[in-house]
């Protein structure tokens, strides 16, 4: 709500000889600005959280979360994904570098994980297919597991 909307009303009031209304016009304008501020801050905060989702969940969002997003937010997420992917491709030579993996320095290449829920089949780099059944334990490459750990499907077993 730009300042000139308020000034426009004030000028009208002055020209019609009703300048005593000006304090009330200002009052109403403050309320409108307040509403605008609250709505804008809310929508912006949502975007900040949606951006964080890309780092927490990876590039495919669970349906439950997509359900709560409006079309414009989904579009924004797609654009953000693209920008991030372009940036990551430009790092580290030919194949690029996935910076959403290994966000803390890893202590070992392979880790022991336990499956917390049924997740079906999971393929690792050498072609082997692992069946992720609840309570099964596996010794898997760390980089493959990171996202599933964040999503709560796998649990890192520290012995």
């Amino acid at each position: 709500m730009p300042r000139n909307c308020c000034l426009h009303s004030e000028n009208e009031a002055k020209s019609e000889g009703r300048s005593e209304l000006i304090p009330s016009i200002k009052f109403r304008h403050c309320c409108l600005l307040r509403n605008q501020r609250c709505v804008t801050a809310y929508l912006y905060d949502r975007l900040l959280r949606i951006r964080a989702l890309r780092w927490e969940y990876g590039s495919v969002l669970p349906a439950a979360i997509r359900f709560h997003m409006c079309a414009e937010e989904l579009e924004w997420f797609n654009q953000y994904k693209k920008s991030l992917a372009t940036y990551m491709r430009s790092l580290g030579g030919e194949e690029g570098l996935d910076i959403t993996q290994d966000r803390k320095p890893p202590k070992s290449l392979y880790i022991e994980v336990r499956c917390l829920k049924d997740h079906g089949e999971f393929e690792i780099d050498d072609g082997t297919i692992i069946l992720l059944k609840k309570n099964s334990q596996h010794f898997l490459p760390r980089w493959k597991c990171e996202q599933l750990i964040r999503q709560g499907v796998l649990e890192h077993v520290i012995s």
Partner: protein, 184 residues
Amino acid sequence: METQAYVPVPPGVGIEENFLSLDDILLSQENLPCRTESSFPRLGFLEKSSEAPDIPEGTKMEMPLWLAKGLYERKRRVLSVELPKVYREGWRTVFGADPNVVDLHKMGPYYYGLGSQLLHFDSPENMEIAQAVLNTFIGRFRRTMDSSQNAFNEDTSGLVERLDCLEKALKNFNRNENYLSRVQ
């Protein structure tokens, strides 16, 4: 604890608020005692105590900070803002004597934030208010940082409940930093 991917807009520092900061929006919702210096026609419905169609000049009412800031003008034709008790002479002396004793959460959880915003209203006591707020912060700083040295799962509610929002944020930030530096 994962490094945070979600970083909310922080509150403004000093006299300026951050437009998009949720903390500043909550802060600006705090009420201030005010006195109208001109009448507000047709807004009488806001004053539940009287049936008048207008708010007459000289009405004492409580307004949220955002409204007071919006209406206030240096030439004083519209509104005059009184200082809430906590920022007046009496309480300023108490804070000066021993800032650690006071329950800042009860005194309005935004003591520092509101104190900084009050400076917009050209009170003759602005210098004293600014000094008092600053000295209180300095006096309490050490206790605030000490209280952040506890583990995550310890119940620190006894220490925390007397802190104002800025102090709580500092404490949590410090606690996270300590944890991260120990875990690596």
